[in-house]
C-alpha cells in the first residue's frame, strides 16, 4: 500500500472527528466536575470544523482512495454533511439533560463522537470491509451509549437487547459479505459490480449472499420483520442516547444500503427489489398500525421510525437515480425530524423527570408557544402534510415508485400514511387542545437549545417551501 497525502486530505473530516474524540477523552481526565461543559464545547467545535472540512474537501469529482477502500463522491459529501449537522443538533439538545443528572461526563461525548466517526466511514466506504468497519464502530459505541445511565435497569436491559440483536444483524451481514466475496472474489464494490455483471445470476452463492445482505440492512434500519429491537431500545434507553441513535444513524443506514446495493450490486437490482418491496410494505403497515396503540411517545416514535424506513425503501427499490435521490432526501429529512422530536422530549424533561408519555406533552402551547409550534411542524412533517418537507419527501418517493409503474404500491403507501397521520395528530392534540397539568413547572431552556430547535423546526418548513437546493444536491449525487 502506497502512502499518499491525497488520501489523508480526503478523510480530513474523519480525522477531525477522531482528534476531537481523543482530545475529549484526555481533557476530560483533567476537568473538575464543575467544568465538564468544556467537553460539550470541544465536541461542538470539533464537529463544526468537520462540517467545514466536509465542505472544503467535498464537491470534487468521484475519487477513490486507500487502494479502493474509500470513495469520495457526491453521495459521501452530502451524507457526511447531513450526519454531522444532525449530530451537532443532537449534542446540543442532550446537554441540559445530562447536566441535570450530573452525567455531563466525557464518556458520553467520546462514545458519541466515535459513533459519528463510524457513520462517516460508512458514508464513504468503497468496499464491504470498510462499510463493515464503520458499521461496527458505530454500533459498538451506540451499545455503550444505551447503557450509559448506570443506575437504570431498563437502560441495561435495552443495551443488552440492542447488543444481541445488533450482533445478530451484523453477523447476517458479514455472512452475506463472505458469500459475495466467495462468489466474486473481491470485497471492493467496483470489482464486485464487474464480477456480477460478468456472471449474472447464474451463481447461487451470489443470490444467497444478497439475501443475507438485505437481512442485515433490514436489521440495521429496523425494517419489519427485523424491527423487534427498535421499540424496546427506544423505550429503555435514556432519551439523549435515543436521540443520537435514532437520528443520524438512519442516514448511515441509508449509506450502508446504497453503498452495498447500488454501488456493488446495481446489476442485480431485479433480485433485491422484490425483497425490499416486502420489507417496505410490511414496515409501513406494521409501523403505522402499531404506533396508534402506543401511549409512550418514545415507543410511538420507534414505530413511526419503522414506517418511515418503509418509505425510504420505496425510493431505494425504484432502482432509478430519481429513486435513490428521493430515498436520500427522505433519509436526511427523517433524521432532522427525529432529532427535533427527541429534542422536544429532552426539553420537556427536567431533573428527576423524563418526558416519556404522550400526557407529558399536555398544554405545551401554554407552557411555551414557540416550542409547541416547532413540535407541530415536526409532527405535520412526519405525517407528510404540506407545506412541510415531510410532504416533499413523500412526494418524491411516490413519484419514483409511480415512475416504475408500481401504482398499487403508491396507493398502499398513501393509505398507510393516512393511518399514520392519526397518531401524529394525537401528539398535536396534546400540545394544543389540552391544558397543562396544574403543577407543571415552566420550561427552562438554554439559548443554545432554543436556537437549535428553532433552526430544526424552521428548516423543515423552509425545505418544504424551497426543496430545490437539497433535492438537486441529492440528484447530482447519483448522476
Amino acid at each position: 500500500m502506497q502512502f499518499d497525502v491525497a488520501n489523508l486530505i480526503a478523510i480530513l473530516p474523519e480525522i477531525a472527528v477522531l482528534i476531537t474524540a481523543c482530545l475529549v477523552l484526555v481533557v476530560d481526565l483533567y476537568l473538575q466536575d464543575k467544568n465538564k461543559d468544556v467537553n460539550h464545547t470541544l465536541t461542538l467545535i470539533g464537529l463544526i470544523i468537520a462540517i467545514a472540512l466536509t465542505g472544503v474537501v467535498g464537491g470534487g469529482d468521484r475519487q477513490i482512495f486507500f487502494d479502493g477502500n474509500l470513495i469520495q463522491d457526491g453521495i459521501s459529501d452530502l451524507l457526511k454533511g447531513a450526519i454531522l449537522v444532525v449530530s451537532v443538533l443532537g449534542f446540543i439538545y442532550a446537554r441540559p439533560w445530562l447536566k441535570d443528572r450530573d452525567m455531563l461526563v466525557g464518556e458520553f461525548y467520546v462514545l458519541g463522537l466515535f459513533a459519528v466517526l463510524g457513520m462517516l466511514v460508512m458514508a464513504s466506504a468503497n468496499s464491504f470491509l470498510t462499510v463493515y468497519l464503520g458499521l461496527e464502530l458505530q454500533a459498538l459505541s451506540l451499545y455503550a451509549l444505551v447503557a450509559f445511565d448506570r443506575e437504570s435497569k431498563k437502560g441495561a436491559e435495552a443495551a443488552m437487547k440492542y447488543f444481541v440483536l445488533g450482533a445478530l444483524g451484523s453477523g447476517m451481514l458479514l455472512y452475506g459479505i463472505s458469500m459475495l466475496y466467495g462468489a466474486t472474489g473481491s470485497v471492493e464494490f467496483g470489482a464486485v459490480a464487474q464480477a456480477v455483471s460478468e456472471q449474472g445470476m447464474a451463481n447461487e452463492v451470489l443470490v444467497f449472499g444478497i439475501v443475507f445482505l438485505v437481512i442485515g440492512i433490514g436489521f440495521k434500519f429496523g425494517a419489519v420483520p427485523f424491527h423487534m429491537w427498535v421499540p424496546d431500545i427506544y423505550e429503555g434507553a435514556p432519551t439523549p442516547a435515543v436521540l443520537i441513535l435514532g437520528s443520524a444513524p438512519k442516514i448511515a443506514a441509508f449509506a450502508l444500503a446504497t453503498r452495498m446495493l447500488v454501488d456493488g450490486l446495481q446489476e442485480l437490482h431485479a433480485d433485491w427489489q422484490g425483497m425490499l418491496l416486502i420489507l417496505a410494505v410490511l414496515s409501513m403497515g406494521l409501523g403505522n398500525l402499531v404506533a396508534i396503540a402506543q401511549s409512550n411517545i418514545k415507543r410511538m416514535l420507534a414505530y413511526s421510525t419503522i414506517s418511515h424506513v418503509g418509505f425510504i425503501f420505496l425510493g431505494l427499490l425504484a432502482g432509478s437515480t430519481q429513486g435513490y435521490a428521493s430515498a436520500m432526501f427522505y433519509a436526511i429529512v427523517y433524521a432532522l425530524m427525529a432529532a427535533g422530536a427527541f429534542g422536544i422530549l429532552l426539553i420537556l424533561s427536567r431533573k428527576g423527570f423524563d418526558a416519556e408519555t404522550l400526557e407529558d406533552l399536555k398544554g405545551l402551547n401554554d407552557r411555551d408557544a414557540w416550542y409547541a409550534a416547532m413540535m407541530t411542524i415536526i409532527m405535520f412533517s412526519m405525517a407528510g402534510v404540506p407545506p412541510t418537507v415531510g410532504f416533499m419527501a413523500k412526494l418524491l418517493v411516490l413519484e419514483a415508485v409511480i415512475r416504475i409503474d408500481l401504482l398499487w404500491l403508491a396507493l398502499v403507501a398513501v393509505f398507510f400514511s393516512v393511518i399514520g397521520a392519526f397518531y401524529y395528530l394525537r401528539v398535536i392534540k396534546f400540545i394544543y387542545f389540552d391544558r397543562a397539568v396544574l403543577n407543571a413547572p415552566p420550561l427552562v431552556t438554554t439559548g443554545g437549545v432554543r436556537f437549535a430547535m428553532t433552526f430544526n423546526g424552521l428548516i423543515l418548513l423552509m425545505l418544504g417551501l424551497f426543496p430545490t437546493a437539497l433535492l438537486s444536491l441529492c440528484q447530482s449525487a447519483f448522476i
Binding site: L395, L411, V418, A421, F433
Partner: protein, 525 residues
C-alpha cells in the same frame, strides 16, 4: 400579462400578517385584533383589485404568474384566475373580515393565535383557488387542514378533539389519492400544469380511475353523501368563525375542484358516471333535507342544510353531461354550471350569516339546543329580524340570493330529465320546512325561560356583520347579473372543454360527448 404580482400579494399578505399578529403575542389582545383586522381588510381591498382588473370577455387565465419552483419535476409556482375562481377569491377575503370581527370579544383564550390561524387560512384558501399547478394546488389544499385542525381543536366545543381529528383524517384520506392521480397525470402529460392536464388524452380506464380519485377528494370536501358525516361534527364543535369558514369557503373548494379538475380533465369518465353524481346529489338534497328536519342542535341543522344545498351545486355541474347530448339545449348546460356557481357564492353568504346568528345566541346562552330557546324576538327584535331574513334566504325566497342559484339549477335540470328536476325542486319545500320550523321554535312564541328573558339585543359589532351580509344576500338576489357576467365567458369555454372528447384516437369511436374530435382549444397563455 399583468406585471404586478397581485395574486401573490393576496395569498401571502394575510399569511405574513398572521405571522405579525402571532409575533405581537398575547400580551395586548387589542393590538393583535386590530392588526388582524387591518390585514384582513387590506387583503380584501387588494382582492377587489382582481375584480376591477378582470377582463370578462376572455376565458383565458388572467393575472398569471409563472416561475419555476421545483425544476427537476417541472413543478411551477403558477398562479392565475378565471371567471370561476376570481369570485371565489373575493368571497374568501370578504368572509374572513367577518370571521375576524365575530371573534373580537368572544375569543378570550389566546386571541392572537386565533386571529393568526384565520389569516393564514385566508391566504391558503386564496392559494387553492388561484393555483394552476397540480402540486402547488395540492400543497395549498392540504395546508388548509392545518389551521382548521387547530381552530376546531383549540377553540371548539366539548367534543372538539373527536370532531377535529375526524375532520382531518377524512379530508386527508380523500386527498392523498388525488396526489397519486396528480403524479400519474404528470407522467402522462410531462408537466404538472392543470391547463396541460386539461388538454391531455387518456383512455377510459385511466380517466375513470382518475375521476374516482378526484371524486374521493372533492366529495369529502363538498361534502357529498355518504362521506358527509365529518361535517356536522366539525360544524357543531368548531367556534363560530371556524363554522363560517368551513361552510362559506371550504365546502366551495370541493365544488371548485370538480370544475377545475374532474370535469375538464376526465370528461368522458364524468359523462359515463354522471348517474352516480346525480344520484348522490339528489340523495343529498332529499335525504339530508329530511335529516336536517329532525335536528335538535341549531348548528347541526345548518350543517345538514349546507350539505343539501351543496347537492344542488354538484347537480348543477354534472347535468351538463346529460344536457349536452342534445345540442339544441346547450344553453341549459351553461345555466347549470352558472347556477351551481351562483349557489356556491350565495350559500357562502347565507350559511356564513346563519352560523354567525347561531354564534350570537351561543355567546350569550352557551347552548345551541333549539329546545333551550323560544320567543327570542321579544328580547332581541333586531336579531330576530336578521334571523328571519337569512332563514328565508336559506329556504330560497325569491329576491334573495338563495333563490337565484336554485332556480337556475332547477331550470337546467328540467332540460336534462324531468324527474330529476321534480326531485330537486322538492328542496324548496324541505328547506323551507327545516329552516322555518327552526325559526319558529327559536325566535317566535312566548319567552321560554329566564335566560331568554335576560338576553340583550345585538351590539354594533354584530349588527355590522349581519347587516353587511344581508345587503350582500339581497344584492345578489335582486341583481345577480354582474356575477353571472363575470363568469359567463369562462363557463362557455368550460362547457366546450367538458363536452370535448379526451379519449385517445383508438377509443374515440366510443365517445358519447358532443365533440368527438378534439377541437382547437382556446390557447391558454
Amino acid at each position: 400579462m399583468n406585471e404586478f404580482p397581485l395574486l401573490t400579494l393576496v395569498i401571502w399578505l394575510p399569511i405574513v400578517g398572521g405571522i405579525v399578529v402571532l409575533a405581537s403575542g398575547e400580551k395586548s389582545p387589542s393590538i393583535s385584533k386590530w392588526t388582524a383586522l387591518f390585514f384582513a381588510v387590506l387583503t380584501f381591498l387588494l382582492s377587489i383589485g382582481l375584480w376591477i382588473g378582470f377582463d370578462s370577455n376572455t376565458a383565458q387565465m388572467q393575472f398569471v404568474e409563472r416561475s419555476a419552483w421545483i425544476p427537476t419535476f417541472n413543478v411551477e409556482y403558477y398562479l392565475g384566475v378565471d371567471g370561476i375562481s376570481m369570485p371565489l377569491i373575493v368571497l374568501t377575503t370578504f368572509i374572513t373580515i367577518f370571521v375576524i370581527v365575530a371573534g373580537w370579544e368572544v375569543i378570550t383564550y389566546k386571541p392572537a393565535q386565533y386571529m393568526t390561524a384565520f389569516l393564514i387560512m385566508n391566504g391558503i384558501m386564496v392559494g387553492v383557488f388561484s393555483a394552476l399547478d397540480g402540486i402547488l394546488f395540492y400543497v395549498f389544499w392540504e395546508a388548509m387542514l392545518i389551521p382548521m385542525f387547530i381552530i376546531i381543536g383549540v377553540w371548539g366545543g366539548p367534543n372538539r378533539v373527536y370532531a377535529t381529528i375526524k375532520f382531518f383524517l377524512y379530508t386527508f384520506l380523500g386527498s392523498v389519492f388525488m396526489l397519486v392521480a396528480l403524479i400519474y397525470m404528470y407522467f402522462q402529460s410531462g408537466s404538472f400544469s392543470i391547463l396541460d392536464f386539461q388538454e391531455m388524452q387518456l383512455g377510459i380506464t385511466a380517466q375513470t380511475l382518475i375521476f374516482l380519485a378526484f371524486l374521493l377528494a372533492f366529495a369529502v370536501k363538498v361534502p357529498m353523501f355518504p362521506v358527509h358525516t365529518w361535517l356536522p361534527d366539525a360544524h357543531v364543535e368548531a367556534p363560530t368563525g371556524g363554522s363560517v369558514i368551513l361552510a362559506a369557503i371550504m365546502l366551495k373548494i370541493g365544488g371548485y375542484g370538480f370544475l377545475r379538475f374532474s370535469m375538464p380533465i376526465t370528461p368522458d369518465a364524468s359523462a359515463s358516471l354522471t348517474w352516480l353524481i346525480v344520484a348522490l346529489s339528489l340523495i343529498a338534497i332529499l335525504y339530508i333535507g329530511f335529516v336536517a328536519l329532525v335536528q335538535q342542535d341549531m348548528k347541526k341543522l345548518i350543517a345538514y342544510s349546507s350539505i343539501a344545498h351543496m347537492g344542488f351545486v354538484t347537480l348543477g355541474f354534472f347535468i351538463v353531461f346529460t344536457i349536452a347530448q342534445n345540442p339544441a339545449l346547450s344553453s341549459g348546460s351553461i345555466m347549470g354550471i352558472e347556477g351551481g356557481m351562483v349557489q356556491m357564492i350565495s350559500h357562502g353568504f347565507i350559511s356564513g350569516a346563519l352560523f354567525l346568528c347561531v354564534g350570537v345566541l351561543y355567546d350569550r346562552v352557551h347552548s345551541r339546543e333549539i329546545a333551550d330557546y323560544g320567543g327570542v324576538i321579544n328580547t332581541m327584535p333586531w336579531y330576530g329580524a336578521f334571523v328571519v331574513f337569512f332563514a328565508m334566504a336559506n329556504a330560497g325566497l325569491p329576491g334573495t340570493s338563495g333563490f337565484v342559484g336554485e332556480f337556475m339549477v332547477i331550470l337546467a335540470t328540467f332540460r336534462a330529465d324531468f324527474w330529476w328536476a321534480v326531485l330537486a325542486a322538492m328542496t324548496l319545500i324541505l328547506a323551507a320546512a327545516f329552516t322555518l320550523w327552526m325559526v319558529k321554535r327559536v325566535i317566535f312564541g312566548e319567552v321560554k325561560n329566564d335566560k331568554v328573558a335576560a338576553l340583550k339585543d345585538i351590539d354594533q359589532r354584530e349588527t355590522f356583520n349581519l347587516a353587511v351580509l344581508a345587503i350582500a344576500v339581497l344584492a345578489l338576489g335582486i341583481w345577480p347579473a354582474p356575477l353571472v357576467n363575470v363568469m359567463h365567458t369562462t363557463v362557455e369555454n368550460l362547457v366546450v372543454q367538458v363536452t370535448t372528447c379526451k379519449l385517445p384516437s383508438s377509443e374515440r369511436s366510443d365517445c358519447v360527448l358532443t365533440h368527438p374530435e378534439p377541437i382547437v382549444a382556446v390557447p391558454n397563455n
